[in-house]
């Protein structure tokens, strides 16, 4: 029995690893044409689905022209995204007979993902800390239970509802307050922040609550104030759990698709201000996956791979950090 159980546990653990590796390989294979074509330059290139004349030396091109024209004809889904120049020019160019190729760069969705996540964190972190300190240390038991329950409910709301609420209620307010567009990096980031807030607050509260009473009492017994006890005893004691809640929230914000799809504007344009619309990686994938083909499809996989590696790196870093902390 013991043996069987051990085997089962072991193979389950291995299975997880195999799935992970499988996903990575699939993504990598599908992204390979785009990786070969654009290389690491993909990450810093803001152009997405842009036709450029073949002759002009472009970004990173080390492939044969023949391959390019093939991928070119495959790609029928031409968006009307211009990059600053007037759309008239664009059409003129398109009708031109000079051979063109389509290039893809991931900078815009990458920037959109990173900045919407950072805005979400910057917004959610202080408020989540405030809420959890209130719930764990300040509020009377009954209120803490009630408010805590409400926050757990909030955490359970499906993200599409946050997206709809954000678009119809929150976006106009953001535009009024900060100017600029209703759908923007800022709107998406703030609503993402509202989304991860309850999650972060609930986990942080739980880890603060694991601080033994006797430890807090020891600090009070030395003449500490409530603020000092929170700062010097509760925070250090529950640090690992708090960082864990931040990392998990970060992972959630990075991969969030539905709510952001409603709010970020979904255009492949580099934002100049946080009140500009743009796009994030998950939204770019969800919006374009249906119609994409050829190099466009491969570039989407390249984006997916980047997201995968980013999330994986963050989680691994967190795990590594926890292990080191737990051992010290």
């Amino acid at each position: 029995m013991e043996k069987i159980f051990q085997k089962f546990a072991f193979s389950s653990a291995t299975l997880v690893f195999i799935i992970l590796l499988g996903i990575f390989i699939t993504l990598f294979n599908a992204a390979r044409p785009a990786i070969n074509e654009f290389g690491l330059n993909f990450i810093v290139d803001p152009a997405w689905n842009k036709e450029v004349p073949l002759s002009t030396p472009q970004t990173t091109t080390d492939k044969s022209a023949a391959q390019k024209s093939v991928t070119d004809t495959n790609d029928e889904s031409v968006d009307v995204n211009d990059y600053g120049d007037s759309s008239d020019d664009m059409i003129m160019e398109d009708e031109d007979d000079t051979p063109t190729k389509t290039i893809y760069g991931g900078l815009v969705p990458l920037v959109g993902t990173i900045f919407s996540t950072l805005i979400a964190l910057a917004f959610a972190l202080p408020i989540a800390m405030g809420i959890s300190i209130f719930l764990a240390e300040i509020a009377p038991k009954k209120i803490a239970t009630f408010v805590g329950g409400a926050i757990e409910l909030l955490a359970a709301i499906p993200s599409i509802i946050f997206g709809m609420w954000g678009l119809y209620y929150f976006a106009p307010i953001v535009a009024d307050l900060f100017g600029g567009f209703q759908v923007s990096l800022l709107t998406a980031g703030l609503v993402l922040g509202v989304m991860i807030l309850p999650f972060m607050a609930a986990i942080t509260r739980d880890s603060m609550n694991t601080t033994p009473d006797i430890l807090k009492e020891s600090a009070y017994a030395l003449g500490a104030t409530k603020f000092e006890v929170i700062k010097d005893v509760i925070f250090p004691y529950s640090k690992v759990g708090i960082i864990g809640s931040i990392i998990l929230s970060l992972g959630r914000a990075l991969g969030e698709t539905m709510a952001v799809a409603f709010l970020i504007g979904s255009i492949f344009e580099l934002p100049h201000k946080i009140t500009d619309p743009t796009i994030s990686i998950p939204v770019a994938l969800a919006n374009n996956f249906g119609e994409a083909s050829g190099l466009g499809m491969s570039s989407l996989f390249y984006l997916a791979l980047i997201l995968f590696v980013m999330s994986f790196a963050i989680i691994s870093f967190a795990k590594f950090y926890f292990l080191r902390k737990a051992n010290s």
Partner: protein, 260 residues
């Protein structure tokens, strides 16, 4: 002279009808060790936790009577049950320190643990801090074991060392009174006797009240002993009188091991 004077003191926890302490009158002699003994649940911890008002971290307790504390000038007594403001609570807890049943090192270095009470009391001067930390660690018989790793985490110390660290931490702020709530109940015999020696050593500088369910411990280290039962103080006397020739039947039954 009395360091503290408990008079007609009653205490009731919130949501409980019966008081957990009834009409307790107990002197705490200055620079002496007073042991509180009695069966589990008789109210020893409750009484001790009233003496620094640590109960007040939780709302809804009811106090009656008075608990007086001799102030630093050794001239006046102050009723600590009258305390309401936060800064008065802080002052009380600097004057009346507490050591708990289990060692409670903070998640910080050994040095920072001992310096903690000093830092929150506003002492910032580096050399004063390190002098007082060293003095407290020496006074707690821990200096020799930790002087070369003051910056290491206190969590790495053994249980007995951690408890002596907690004593050093309490001693560092120079309290008038130290309250010990079964300080050795989580420790092995060797660590226990080290702590006992230390407590006897400490009474030069502070007045001590110690809760213990170990009667040998009470008889070994204390000068006065109070026997409590079901929230009442049954008998209080010099320790040798309590153990050799108790006046109350219930005291005798308890110390001879007939119940408890």
């Amino acid at each position: 002279m009395l360091a503290m004077n408990i008079e007609k003191f009653s205490f009731t926890y919130p949501g409980v009808d019966e008081p957990s302490l009834k009409n307790i009158t107990l002197p705490i002699e200055k620079n002496n060790i007073t042991a509180l003994i009695g069966p589990s649940g008789c109210g020893k911890s409750t009484l001790l936790r009233s003496m620094n008002r640590i109960h007040d971290l939780y709302p809804g307790n009811k106090y009656d009577g008075k608990i007086e504390l001799l102030d630093e000038t050794n001239k006046k007594y102050k009723n600590i049950l009258k305390i309401k403001k936060e800064n008065e609570f802080i002052k009380l807890r600097q004057q009346v320190g507490m050591i708990f049943q289990k060692p409670t090192p903070f998640p910080m270095s050994i040095f920072d643990n001992v310096a903690y009470g000093l830092k929150i009391a506003g002492i910032r001067n580096k050399s004063e801090l390190s002098d007082r930390v060293e003095a407290a660690l020496k006074g707690s018989a821990l200096w020799n074991e930790v002087h070369d790793r003051l910056n290491k985490s206190a969590m790495g110390l053994s249980g007995g060392q951690q408890q002596r660290l907690c004593i050093a931490r309490a001693v560092a702020v120079k309290p008038e009174v130290l309250l010990f709530d079964e300080p050795t109940s989580a420790l092995d015999p060797i660590s226990t006797s080290a702590i006992e020696e230390l407590i006897v050593e400490l009474k030069k500088d502070v007045s001590i009240a110690i809760v213990t369910h170990n009667m040998q411990q009470a008889s070994r280290i204390s000068d006065y002993t109070a026997f409590m039962y079901l929230g009442d103080l049954i008998e209080y006397d010099k320790t040798e009188n309590i153990f050799l020739n108790p006046k109350e039947k219930r005291t005798e039954d308890y110390i001879t091991g007939r119940f408890g």
